[in-house]
Symmetry: C2
């Protein structure tokens, strides 16, 4: 079972879009997949078509140890989702020691998926630490622009800290270039810069800027359900094939 | 003195881009401005041309009460900046009571600016609470797309909580539509939806998608220094005129 966190503390880089569409592509390729929404904004939950305000029990209740993950599990055409709601923001105030391991402990018995994909919030706080303490791999979506590029260093330093203190098996499997537009010099420059500074980490497949990726969540659909022939669908399928090869 | 937080817990919506370019437009209009970078990713510090790794003492040291804001103040062609560096992420672990008021208490004596503009991180944690406890106004950049639109509700609920518990004077002055492309139906739909659900909040000026806004930070420049005639410069100047009228 591959457990992958989709993480970058820089905001708006395509974490949720990547988590949902990679999970969907893996499912199309016959893999059994579970998506975990670890963002109190519950954007992956929205993207997949569920209203977080209607979610009574969420991953927060599982983290608190009050219920089992099976009690909140949503079966969406065979893709499983552990949804979030707004209460998740209260995790900071839980008076429980070793909070970083709440997710790992809650899902200890889970081993019947091929892939578990975790959508993380834009921060390095307790929710992201929970994801990294439980995961074996990290995928880092990078919006190929200047400000997001410079936001990435904090992440790599944080991963080293997680490796030392919480989970020695964790590593960054790769960086996903997102919202790429070949006509923009700044996009090409950031790709080059990333390859120079972090050789071999960037996936060959770049996710092109594609408005269909913005429209799909408003219908509660993955890109494959919304517009199978779009550049977004093509890119996420190619990317997923690379992920399958980079075990 | 107008104290304005630029806040939205949704990531990548244009908070830093707005904070820097509104401050620059205010300066061009003859206002005395101070920018406070309250994000541990120090993106406003970068955008204005300073490398956070070279910043020895930052806003974090001021919040801890160890030094005065004057000890970290950078005078950038008459715009003042209180820079951030990565240490700011450790604020969560400070064992100081009533941490929400650290910024307000540290800047109590400051009253010689026309505007103080605070760039907030993509969260509703302790740094954003500090900004809101100190500010009188909030500007909410909204990337006019589906997922960011749904991330906004948490913010408005949080503002009500701040108003009850930390600062009864705070209010959302307005919502800034960002990365607008008139050719995209999803952009127009989200504008309409925002006007329906939150009448009168959206500024008339929409910030159009403009690659110059992405390029400017890589030169450490505001949009006015980088490309004065660009759509980005025009939009941020028009927006700032609206802000001056909405006191
Ligand atoms: N390749 C793409 N082309 C066009 N739009 C995209 C692309 N990828 C993502 N988007 C849009 O950009 C916005 C930000 O993406 P998304 O919400 O996935 O980022 P995120 O990193 O999860 O944000 P947050 O930091 O708030 O969690 C969304 O409106 C999304 O629809
Ligand atoms: N109107 C625009 N047109 C094109 N690109 C833009 C525009 N506004 C911002 N950007 C770019 O979009 C990216 C995200 O913007 P920015 O970093 O300002 O958002 P943010 O809300 O501060 O992000 P975070 O949540 O990480 O703090 C940056 O690369 C920025 O250069
Ligand atoms: Mg997200
Ligand atoms: Mg920012």
């Amino acid at each position: 079972m591959r457990i992958i966190s989709i993480s970058n503390n820089k905001g708006g880089v395509g974490k949720t879009t990547s988590a949902v569409n990679i999970a969907a592509a893996l499912q199309i390729k016959g893999k059994k997949v579970c998506v975990i929404d670890l963002d109190h904004q519950a954007q992956a939950t929205y993207h997949l078509g569920y209203n977080p305000k209607q979610i009574k029990k969420s991953i927060f209740d599982v983290l608190k140890g009050e219920i089992s993950y099976e009690d909140i599990l949503i079966d969406r055409n065979d893709m499983h989702l552990l949804p979030a709601n707004q209460e998740l923001k209260d995790i900071e105030f839980l008076p429980i020691p070793a909070k970083e391991f709440l997710l790992r402990d809650a899902l200890e018995s889970v081993n019947h998926y091929d892939f578990v994909i975790i959508d993380c919030p834009p921060s390095l706080g307790i929710l992201t630490l929970n994801a990294m303490a439980y995961s074996k791999e990290i995928l880092v979506p990078l919006q190929v622009q200047f400000l997001p590029f410079h936001g990435m260093y904090n992440l790599f330093e944080a991963v080293q800290m997680v490796k030392r203190r919480l989970n020695k098996h964790i590593d960054v499997t790769g960086i996903i270039g997102t919202m790429y537009n070949a006509k923009r010099a700044i996009n090409r420059e950031v790709i080059e810069e990333t390859e120079n500074r972090l050789p071999g980490k960037l996936f060959e497949t770049l996710i092109r800027e594609n408005v269909a990726l913005q429209e799909a969540p408003s219908w509660g659909k993955t890109i494959f359900e919304y517009k199978a022939g779009s550049p977004g669908a093509e890119d996420y399928m190619n990317l997923t094939e690379e992920i399958l090869q980079r075990e």
